[in-house]
């Protein structure tokens, strides 16, 4: 019969209309500035630099200014200048650090490739999305002081990923320490052997 399809369709809209008053699951929108949805752990928007110690952020940046992210960044929004001197990194090895590290967030497309290519776990994705400014130049060009955020903050926003990263870094540090200890022991043994050749056991009886 002509019109049956129309009436059935109207039934569907009526069901949805009435249903939204009874079933909270049917309410698909929220009142945004007052209520915010919980972001998924994987959510990403712009990169930040991880620091070990929140009290001395510039002294404990994990970044060693290797410039891999600068090369790999597809829209080329990262600018790095290497330091002249060295300081110990997360594993205790003396490394360079970025004297200048700037990200132009008006160019960045949040693709996460800098995070994937970083061999030092130094750059990670942030979750701050309320970043509107009235100045479209300097306010969107972030320098290393603005980019640096603590490892504790990283744990807060990406707990699973951060735990994995910490475990991996701890293992690397331990391996480095053991290697250093072994090297030191070998060196000491060699020094002892050199200092007192008399103490050396005779090769033949």
């Amino acid at each position: 019969m002509l019109g049956t399809g129309l009436l059935q369709g109207l039934g569907v809209t009526a069901k949805n209309f009435v249903g939204s008053f009874h079933d909270p699951a049917r309410l698909t929108t929220i009142e945004y500035p007052e209520v915010k949805t919980k972001l998924p752990e994987a959510y990403r928007n712009f990169p930040f630099l991880v620091t070990e110690n929140a009290t001395d952020p510039m002294g404990t940046l994990r970044c060693v200014a290797c410039q891999i992210c600068e090369k790999e960044c597809p829209p080329q929004c990262i600018y790095i200048e290497k330091s002249k001197d060295k300081k110990p990194d997360a594993t205790g090895k003396p490394q360079l650090f970025p004297a200048v590290f700037a990200i132009d967030t008006s160019v960045c497309m949040s693709c996460q490739i800098c995070v994937e290519v970083c061999p030092f776990e130094a750059i990670k994705m942030d979750q701050v999305y309320e970043i509107a400014t009235t100045d479209r130049f300097s306010a969107l060009l972030l320098n290393r002081e603005q980019l640096a955020k603590s490892n504790a903050y990283y744990h807060e926003i990406h707990p699973t990923e951060a735990a994995e990263v910490d475990a991996r870094l701890a293992a690397e540090r331990k391996a480095a320490e053991e290697k250093a200890a072994a090297a030191a022991a070998a060196k000491a043994a060699a020094a002892v052997a050199k200092a007192s050749p008399v103490a050396k056991p005779p090769l033949t009886a």
């Binding site: 019109g3 049956t4 998924p40 994987a42 959510y43 990403r44 949040s110 693709c111 490739i113």
Partner: protein, 396 residues
């Protein structure tokens, strides 16, 4: 318009070569001047910045010239200046409704070029994501098409409500709703967690119910049938010779689906059918998409049930300093809009020497004039809607 143009078009009118049910008979005695109307580029029904220069005789279209390029951003040249990995996030921005399938097609091309193997789990995850993308794209298309018909709001909002559930899954897996950047050469970037898989399973179980509701609302609706049946007919011969692919081609009755023809990935392991239309009109194109969604749900169920354990990335896959040997490769898959393909020519350097995209919606758009001739302006809007274009992909 010059007098000779007018005469040429008037002579065409006496034998309109597309005969739809709604074509009015035009009498020579009533011929006035032809009117040229520029629809777009800022017209909401053109799905982006697309322009149609329509020549009208009364309300009947006698000539239609599509104009595009307003969103051109040098995508292919850009692909030659960045590394192979660097092109991956740009492919998200081609057809921004189906970034997962764009990623897959590009990854497939590079994997062919580099001879890179893909673990089985990654292949299954790719199928799951591609079918979710198909659900998302077709649901949106049905909503937009109904919006073009004049069903203001309701079907589109229902479609967007369901789309948001799929986008939530994409966001929790890849970190971004639409710009997923998820596939890598030799696998996928992150392994889906058990929670995520439960979520996908729930969605697959529930989606059929939504489709039933959606179909009750639309499929049998007399107004929609009157507006869409017999409108914008495309013959199978023209579709094949113009290189039309995807649901547009299958609506004309041509059995061509790359998932069956190429049997890429793990698709041969799944049991599914390829729906075919037989009129090639707007209604068939709508129905094909609904039926394809039902098949997608079947594939999803099978892929989720058969998902093997194992690594998600090939351990030998290289991320940094990736240089495939010199050669060429063409990777193509069945995207929601048709055959999406990437052609790569490598000279052994970190960047491709030539990077070419075969965009399905651009090629499907080339038959627009043939479908619109003899119809009214209002019909041109729904015919364009049924082609399913995304201007990010058309203009590149």
């Amino acid at each position: 318009m010059s007098a000779s143009d007018h005469a040429a078009l008037s002579s065409q009118l006496s034998t309109p070569h597309v005969g739809g049910a709604n074509v009015r008979e035009v009498h020579d005695s009533f011929h006035g001047d032809l009117l040229e109307v520029s629809m777009g580029p800022h017209h909401p029904s053109t799905h982006g910045v697309f322009r149609m220069i329509v020549t009208l005789d009364g309300e009947t279209i006698v000539k239609l010239k599509p104009v595009f390029g307003y969103l051109h951003r040098n995508h292919e040249k850009l692909g030659e200046t960045v590394t192979y990995l660097g092109s991956m996030p740009y492919t998200d921005r081609l057809d921004y409704l189906s970034s997962m399938t764009n990623n897959w097609a590009y990854a497939l091309a590079v994997e062919k070029l580099a001879g890179q193997a893909v673990p089985e789990r990654a292949e299954y995850v790719r199928v799951i994501l591609a079918e979710l993308t198909r659900l998302l794209n077709h649901t949106c298309l049905a909503g937009f098409l109904m919006q073009d018909c004049g069903c203001s709001g309701t079907p589109l909002m229902y479609a967007f409500r369901e789309r948001e559930y799929i986008l939530d899954l994409f966001e929790s897996l890849s970190g971004s709703r639409m710009m997923c950047n998820y596939q890598r050469f030799g696998g996928c970037r992150v392994d889906p967690s058990a929670d995520w898989l439960t979520g996908a399973q729930k969605l697959a179980d529930r989606y059929g119910t939504f489709l039933d509701e959606f179909e009750t609302l639309l499929t049998g609706n007399e107004i929609i049938i009157a507006r869409t049946q017999g409108v914008g007919k495309l013959s199978p011969e023209l579709a094949i010779s113009a290189g039309v692919t995807g649901p547009m081609l299958r609506a004309t009755g041509v059995n061509y689906d790359l998932r069956k023809v190429d049997a890429y990935g793990v698709y041969p392991r799944f049991d599914f059918r390829v729906p075919l239309g037989d009129h090639g009109d707007v209604y068939d194109r709508y129905m094909i998409r609904v039926l394809e969604m039902r098949e997608s749900i079947k594939i999803l169920q099978q892929a989720l049930a058969g998902l093997p354990a194992g690594p998600i990335m090939d351990p030998k896959a290289k991320l940094r300093s990736f240089r495939p040997k010199a050669g060429e490769a063409y990777g193509r898959i069945e995207g929601p809009k048709g055959e999406i393909g990437f052609y790569l020519l490598s000279d052994g350097s970190p960047n491709p020497y030539r990077y070419r995209i075969r965009p399905p919606s651009f090629i499907n758009l080339t038959v627009l004039e043939d479908m619109c001739l003899g119809h009214t302006v209002a019909d041109a809007v729904i015919i364009l809607g049924s082609v399913d274009i995304v201007l990010g992909e058309v203009d590149r």
